[in-house]
Every structure is written in structure tokens, then in C-alpha cells.
């Protein structure tokens, strides 16, 4: 297991007009990202949402695959979802990791746009290799709100694919970024 933790933020994020919103949890975001995270040895995958009904949906999904019919039907899925942890907010995630590691992890935002204070994939990968605790933040909808970007210590350089088109799904972005950081 590595010292990399990730969080998928559902509030506060922005919509396509840049307004601050909360997004609904997408089933496949939990499954796909947990499978990628487990493959690369990510320590924990936090799903953050302040909405009680959304939290309940996440709990039901996790229950199904961890102790319900899903656990016997697909043990590999059970294993992947074992690293998923529900949280109210980024503050709760930070408190949890700070307690665990005895210090605040490096908080790294991701964005489809170039931001100030950018860290390269090589540099961040090296920190993880050295065992420094890291929390990598991903935004749903059209990305993390300014409020979250300001909490982050640094931002990863955006993924560019050599074209003008810049609309990866968050599931794809997470996979590519984790592979760039931890893939061999």
C-alpha cells in the first residue's frame, strides 16, 4: 500500500457556468475509481458528500458489495470497495488522515485548467515513493470549486492529450493521473 489517498468531491464543485453546486453521486465513479485505486495500491478512496440521501446511497452500494449478495458474487469487487470511505466534507477527510499519519498530508488538487502553484507528476510521484502522505482531490461535475482549490497546497498539471479537446470524464482522469504517479 502506498501513502497516496484520493478524494472524490461532490460539494463544493462548479457547473458549466462556473456556479458552485453539489453533484449527485454516480455509481460507476465509486466502482471504477475503487478498482483503479486498488490496482495501484492507493491507501484510501474517500467519497465526500454532505447530502444525507446521497450518503445513504453510497452506504447501500458498499453494503451490497461488502456484506450482501455482491460480496459472494464478486469477491474482487468487495476487495476494491474495501478502501472506499464515506465522508461529509474535505475537512473530515483531512482530520482523519492527519490523525492517522500524525501530520497533515500534502493536499494536491487536480484541474483541467493550468493553475498557479503547479507540481509535476514526477515530483509528486517521488514524494509518494518516499512515503510522504498525500491527499489527491478530484472534482465531479465541472471541477473543484475555488474554495477547495484554495485549501490545496499545490495543483497537478492538467492532462493534455495533444488536441484542443479537453473533456475527460473524472473516471478517466483519475485512472490516467494515478498511472502517471504510480505506474511503472
Amino acid at each position: 500500500m502506498t501513502s497516496l489517498n484520493i478524494a472524490l468531491v461532490h460539494h463544493p464543485v462548479v457547473n458549466k457556468r462556473g456556479e458552485v453546486i453539489g453533484s449527485a453521486v454516480t455509481n460507476l465513479d465509486i466502482h471504477d475509481i475503487a478498482r483503479t485505486a486498488k490496482t495501484y495500491g492507493v491507501a484510501r478512496y474517500f467519497v465526500t458528500t454532505p447530502y444525507r440521501d446521497q450518503q445513504q446511497l453510497v452506504r447501500e452500494l458498499l453494503d451490497h458489495w461488502q456484506t450482501g449478495h455482491g460480496a459472494t458474487y464478486n469477491p474482487a469487487r468487495k476487495e476494491a470497495l474495501g478502501i472506499v470511505q464515506l465522508a461529509d466534507s474535505l475537512a473530515e477527510v483531512l482530520a482523519c488522515l492527519t490523525k492517522q499519519y500524525g501530520k497533515r498530508p500534502l493536499v494536491v488538487a487536480t484541474s483541467a485548467l493550468m493553475r498557479d502553484n503547479t507540481m509535476s507528476y514526477g515530483e509528486l510521484g517521488q514524494k509518494i515513493t518516499m512515503g510522504d502522505p498525500v491527499l489527491l482531490l478530484f472534482g465531479t461535475a465541472h471541477g473543484l470549486a475555488q474554495e477547495i482549490l484554495q485549501i490545496a497546497d499545490v495543483t497537478l498539471a492538467p492532462i493534455r492529450g495533444g488536441t484542443e479537446y479537453n473533456h475527460l470524464s473524472v473516471r478517466s482522469a483519475v485512472s490516467i493521473i494515478i498511472d502517471r504517479l504510480l505506474g511503472s
Copy 2:
């Protein structure tokens, strides 16, 4: 646009017992993979299924986003789905590309397991950079059937994440592989 083409194969693939099956088309496989492909300049994304009802579903999805309400609601999605092409079989895809390029493309299979005749990401990336036509095959369910692996000229090395866990979604695998081949 690059000389890389990809195909998502729904038949013949294998189930978890290794039996040859046909799988159902998954909505998000079309969206997510088209978005990644468009981001990296993949020329065409073939969705292959021999089942008429599945082909009809794909047509309805493409119509909605290309000429229906979706096209005005989300022009970026329209653009991504513009590279998607429905095909009956791998044979049809190969005939189409052979006609277009005036020669058979290099056919490259992907697999979660190590196979004979493996090509590295660096070597394949270089061929694409040089403009050699390439068709990269991805399997749904538990992967491409033997019959498809035998049609391929080479197989890409499996993605390993440094753990024993080896269950990426096909959406994640496609994103990681395209980034390894074409990402900067």
C-alpha cells in the same frame, strides 16, 4: 488526428469462467472512451457488436447526442461521439481501415494477462508517431476471446499497478493505455 484507431469488442469475449460470450453494450463505455479518444486525437473509435438490438441502442445513443437534444445541450459530447463508428465485427473494422489506409493496420490486442508476442508501449507509441496505421483492440466482460487474440499481430504488455490486484474496468484500461501511447 493520429493514426491510432481503437475498437471495443462485445463479441467474442470471455466470461469469468473463460467461456466465449457476447456482452451487452454499456452506455458509459461509449461516452467515457469517446471522450478520452477525442482528447488524445484517436482517429476512430469502433464499437463492435453483432446483435441487432444492441446496435439499435448504440444508434439511438449516437442520434440523441449528435442530432437530437443532446447535440445542443452538450456540443463537446457531440464532438467526442463524432468519432464513434458502429460495426458488426472485427472483420468489418479491418476491411474499413484497410480501405481507408490502403493497407491493413497493425492489429494490437490488449489483455490483463501477459501473452506471447508482446509489444512495449514505447515501441507502439513510436509507430503511431511515425503515422503507421494501428488498430488497438479492447475486450469487454473478462477480455478478448482467443479467436480475436489470434487475429492480432501483437499484444500490448498488461498494465500492472504494483499490487496483486488486477481488475481495472475497461474504461480505465483504455484511458491509461491511450495516455501511455499518446500522452506527453
